[in-house]
Symmetry: C2
Subunit: 420 residues, 2 copies
């Protein structure tokens, strides 16, 4: 009755667990929701009220499949913060950058086509790739993000085996879930390989402007190469995710296909949401607002790192992000983060198990911890509880040698509401 | 480089023509944009301002992939107007009902699967079905809409040939583009076939509440059968298309797959748009607003029918809709509506050629005329200009016997912004 691609669409077992994790007594370090409580709601309310009263018949009407010109121009200004010189003609508005991923996979991938992706990669991207029956091959990362030698090797091996590799998917800034960033030199090395071996790169950049150590945003890969890079942007982390406004900046031919795909998927993105973002960008100092967000996330990131230093048992390691939302924790040997999750939730702390971020079952010793949403003191309390859970887990393992913990079924990499 | 499905994604030749048709001197009877100038913009502006100021951190945040419970409950009230007793658990919010079509096709159709569709059918649905490489087989209509005997025959023939028929796609009320409505008895006949032959029906109902002759809305097919019918609803024609809020009411198993498909496509529908619709439904008399819209569209429908009676040459026929947006015109024999379109646009009137609404190249003698957007006097002027164009076309044909007119390339059935 259903299509082949729908057979993999099953709700994962962690969902019911996350329903519990959303109770107020649980410290959730699992989600990727931005903390938007610093937004000037009174100002935005006034702006949107004026928008509806003065331009309602336009703002509430159907619009272009590509998106409205005005906001595409403003998006080019936003992208200039990362040294991208884009043209509004090459921007396509999407329903969040998740839809950008969906439409790109739709136009590029037949079943069995290969997508290269960082290991680990954003769970929502893996879910989309799976929905189009594309095969994900992971490429190793080191402390500077995606490893160029591993990329070259993977690409050559796959091509030699007759596989059609459609693109590389990467998050160069504050990668979700690992929190790692490619330095400028690393970006150039990857782009040189893309140029040499004619590889398309999908650069997903939801967090790039959320630098939190006072540094300037790095030049986007797209700012260094406008032929091999398709760039995905989003207002979900820098303004408001509830509006679902993202975009794709793509070479002309790709842009044309994306617009047609958007029309068959949804007719057009929401004009109203676009106008709300547009009036916010035009009438509020969004650069100063970014500084507010940066300071707020810095405090939380610092709390997370302090909490981990205090409470993690020996043998644990973790990344030290300089922006974005996430820390990637590696547990002491022998522990399984997915098996441990029910006990963590009982101890009133939640996280996302590492296996969610791999298409190939890896990541069982890893945990993604997010510091974006809870207040600093809750983050520290969360790490305290987590430390206890890990210590108990080690005691149990040592006492009973319970190896069965490492053989629990893997999470299906679908982008549940708490996995984004 | 691109996926197989992307090869058919090419911009149709009528697009550039429609760009011209959007000039103010052209009377466009081509689009399907609702006239929303009667909306209480001041009231809506105030409501949305309060929404942002009082509930902004929730309204601007990520939400559930299925959509917010509050609006799903209100949608059940809206559906009760057509005698549907739905449960909020079975409602999935979509980015317009176009996305409902996209997600349904995604979960049901592998390449080569068959979808049965009325002849003619909504161009945007045909575009979506083509994007999933599904095969559309048209089923004839008569003056009461989809013909049950033709449906049974088509289904049996296809199954005997080993084809997998996934569902029937139908618009029972004021069909786009033909303006025809299935009476209650007809709905029951179609549902009896669905029951007997185990056929799923996708009931698309954007116009059902826009009855314009004082009649009550008919019971939806879904109100008569909750196992074989998946129902698509939309606020695009009854409130505002720029918000992109539609929904699917589906049996439990289908609903579950739809939510997972939604999450991989977009993570979640826009919480903000849902809250805007929700506050409008809660604080404005939307039933009285529907009456305002009904009176407004009645005046325009009347103008259209009067204009056609006055200005169409002998040999033309057209439908007499009792609601919705569209009249379906059949030209005198020998004329080709697509070939004639450039000359119509030169004469400052635009329409959508009938071929757009068929997957099989039929419809060359037909035209979809929409009366939803221009004011009544412009509608009448549009029919006057169209009458002249048709008369000139007949003269040319009779003088020169230009049969080549009937062999122009067909429009690709993609849902362009002016074809919806």
């Amino acid at each position: 009755m259903y299509a082949e691609r729908a057979h993999g669409m099953t709700a994962s077992a962690v969902r019911s667990l996350f329903a519990v994790a959303n109770r107020p007594e649980v410290v959730s370090l699992a989600g990727g929701m931005p903390n938007i409580s610093d937004l000037p709601l009174d100002v935005i309310g006034g702006l949107v009220s004026d928008l509806i009263k003065d331009h309602g018949t336009q703002a509430l009407q159907y619009g272009s499949g590509q998106g409205e010109l005005m906001i595409r121009e403003q998006i080019c200004e936003v992208m200039a913060e990362e040294q991208i010189h884009g043209h509004p003609d090459d921007v396509v508005i999407t329903h969040g950058s998740q839809q950008g991923l969906d439409l790109l996979t739709r136009i590029f991938c037949d079943p069995g086509d290969v997508i290269l992706a960082e290991a680990p990669s954003y769970v929502g991207a893996l879910g989309t790739f799976a929905a189009y029956q594309a095969e994900v091959v992971h490429v190793a990362m080191d402390e500077h993000g995606l490893n160029p030698q591993a990329l070259r090797q993977a690409l050559l091996t796959l091509r030699a085996a007759g596989k059609r590799v459609k693109f590389l998917y990467t998050i160069p800034n504050f990668n979700n879930p690992a929190g790692l960033t490619q330095p400028l030199e690393r970006r150039k090395e990857i782009l040189a390989i893309a140029d040499e071996l004619d590889l398309l790169i999908v650069e997903d950049n939801p967090y790039g402007l959320l630098t939190i150590d006072g540094q300037d945003p790095l030049p986007a890969m797209r700012s260094l190469d406008d032929t091999h890079v398709v760039y995905l942007g989003s207002f979900s982390k820098t303004f408001a995710p509830g509006l679902r406004v993202g975009w794709v900046l793509a070479p002309h031919g790709v842009r044309e296909k994306l617009v047609l795909a958007q029309e068959s998927a949804t007719l057009a993105p929401s004009v109203f949401s676009q106008f709300v973002v547009s009036t916010y960008l035009a009438h509020w100092d969004w650069r100063a607002q970014l500084d507010t967000f940066r300071a707020m996330y810095r405090e939380r990131r610092d709390a997370m790192l302090r909490g981990l230093t205090e409470h993690m048992p020996p043998g644990s390691t973790w990344t030290h992000p300089t922006g974005g939302f996430f820390v990637w924790l590696t547990l002491p040997e022998g522990l399984d983060s997915q098996a441990m999750l029910p006990r963590a939730v009982s101890a009133r702390v939640a996280y996302t198990p590492g296996t969610a971020f791999y298409a190939d079952g890896m990541g069982s010793r890893n945990i993604r911890l997010s510091y974006c949403f809870p207040p600093p003191e809750r983050i520290i309390e969360g790490t305290r509880r987590l430390g206890e859970v890990i210590n108990n887990e080690r005691d149990i393992n040592e006492t009973f040698g319970l190896k069965s913990f490492t053989h629990t079924p893997r999470i299906h990499p679908g982008p549940g509401p708490d996995l984004r």
